[in-house]
Amino acid sequence: MFRYFLMLLLLTFAVACGGSDKPAPKTSGGDSAAVDEDDEDDTGISVRQTYSADKGTAGVKGTIKFEGKARRRPIDMGSEKYCENCYGEDGPPKSESVVVGENGELANVFVHITSGLKNWKFQKGTGEVHIDQIKCMYVPHVTGVQVGQTLKIANSDSVMHNIHASDKSGDDWFNQGQPNKGDVFTREVGGSDAGFYTMKCDVHGWMAAYICVVKNPFFAVSGTDGAFSLDKLPAGTYTVEAWHEKYGKKTQQVTVKDGETAEISFTFSK
């Protein structure tokens, strides 16, 4: 009898040891309808109001500038004939790492609010956020997503791309091959997915995009005019953070009253 017991023990041990040591890849989390905002100095038990659009009449807007010269090399797409053929005589586009306008306007800066919203509860984001792979480039280059929204990444090229996203510490968020035109990757973004991600195609190493997942609906990406606008903010004092893929973060404090729109600006340099 003892022998059978020993065997059973061995079996159980063997099966139980099949678990993983690495943290499981992030999956969409959160079943509750309301999501806590990511206030750094949240002191805990306070009666929070549920935010809705009619409660926010303030805003913050501004322009982001870059000081100095920024070079944009033309992208060498020589490793993929299909990609080269997508572009005609004008040649391939230029690198998107630093996109600076004639008057120093800096594009592709992700602007969001990092503190000041601790008295508010936010509903989960709704709707879809699309990133496309077209002519061997990601469009858009920087994307903001609110927790709860559905991220959809499509391959509109007739060539294999893979979407490989990882976080700041190098851990993978997802890595999937999309060999065919029309392949779509869908991901419901959950609370545990909050953070900033670099997404690249390993086959076409120049392709890079940035996905910024935040918990509240106040975020924007600056356009080629360097302009951004955060609307429907409730009155309050906020820390606004501007993040650039190469030049890092800059923050500013701003206070707004109902019906007001404050104007701030950021300047990045090498």
């Binding site: 065997m7 099949g18 993983s20 294999m160 490989h164 990882s166 190098g170 999937q176 690249k200």
Partner: protein, 586 residues
Amino acid sequence: MSHAEPQSFISKYIFSFDHKVIGIQYMITAIVMALFGGGLALMIRTQLQHPEMGLFAPEAYLSYVTMHGTIMVFFVVSMAISGFGNFLIPLQIGARDMAYPFLNMLSYWTMVPACLIMIASFFVPGGAAAAGWTMYPPLSAVEQTVPGSGIGTTLWILGMALFIASFTMGGLNFLTTILNCRTKGLTMWRLPLATWGFLVATVLGLLAFPPLTSAAIMLLFDRHVDTSFFVTDMVINDQLLNLGDGTPLLFQHLFWFLGHPEVYVLVIPPLLMTMDIIPVFTRRPAFGYRQSIWALGVISFLSMIVWGHHMFVTGMNPYIGKYFSIATVIITAPFAVLGVNLLASLWRARLRPAVPMLFALAVISAVGFGGFGGLFLGTMVSDIYFHETYFVVGHFHLMIGTVTLLGIFAAWYFWFPKMFGKKMDENLGRWHFWLTALPMIAIFLLMHLQGMGGMVRRTFDPGTYEYNAGMNMALRFPITIMAYVLFIGQMIFFWNIVRSLKRGEPAGENPWDAATLEWITPSPAPHGNFGAALPVVSCGPYEYSVGEDGFGYLPQSGGGEVAVHSPASAEEREETGGTDSGETGA
């Protein structure tokens, strides 16, 4: 060694100590795993045939390739060999059971969780391991390099650890039993070739597996405990991962130190079982019995010092490369001795073309076609071109796929009566034979041709390269068709098994008139194998064509008395050339 007769269902069929039951358990599990491994092969072939259909993701395809290899090598071929070894060894050496029956049972029940873990690895996030069955780091060590290198690879390592534990337990049993438990009169030079094969393969395996075990542990540590045996700093997604200053090549050395002897562990038992079966159906002694055994010893020794031929293009010191090449091609010499002995055993044969013999003959041909491919790969200069192409895939599938499986099928049809007391159906057996031997040899010869054209392996879509267009791509079609035909052939085999178990022709004690010890027991062999008294051996295992008319044979335990086997009438003898039991020659 001997144990009490089991009474309950569980002790008879589930947790049995009886080597025969354990052997059959191994074989049934190997068949189940073969369905998985074969299914994966069909998925691979379908993807290669129709990459435009977008059936699978590239990362999924790689996990199919990886697990197909792992499952087939370790959980089908190696397990089937363990099954036959378990079943045959005590019977062929005149023992009541293995030396360690409890350890034997433990070895099987350690294998079962290993199988379950391997299959379960498909269903974890990231999927099953996807770095190829060779699992080279850093690809297998760093999760970000391919999705299957997440939990799937950890499970793979655990499954392999259990497999190696099981193999070691089984190997200790085989070795001890063969050396210590032979019955009176059975000297080593009177041992049947099948048992010799298990002995040599076991010694090889026991010596060769430890480096793989250590490599697996080091890989596990690199993955989970931040060591850097095999991993170096790397950039993934434009991010620098500081993983250390390791040596990926160390893993390759450790892996192939096992990997090369492993292929002989896989090939030798089926080949030697074939050599054991042939004399029964030629009614002649095996040719060159001692020479074969010496050749086996030389092959085993050499196999342990030639692993570098898997690494000719890694950037090893070229002098070392030259050494490995010189040593590797020496192995063709003892292998040629085995081949010549196989052929010479057919000289002036009185052929009885029963199904086991058909498979055995196909083994000889497959060894011819497949073995010589090894020369192209063992010669360092030509290996530069063929490394990692379909030439390699064709070569190893011909050897450890075709030669082994044909040998295993020969053994299955031959010893099935002893296992279950019934004979497999001869007609269905012939269908199975043709739908197995023909497709297998065809598929893998064609792959050699793709390798000649330089087609690279583990390629999700070979159409990516223009040089593949034309013949390399065109050859996919006959290969894929043959793969499906092969699959159908195995369905016939399974049907034959089920049918024969239910209403097969009952087999007597010795349906093939064979001389070795297992054939003096009832069919199926009972608990304790040999009744009250153990047999005493008085001659070698292949004393056929003795007696006045040359139709007799000497059973090993017959005390020198010629057992005469001849058909009922001279007429029948005319027609059948000496076969009995109603088999016709047509």
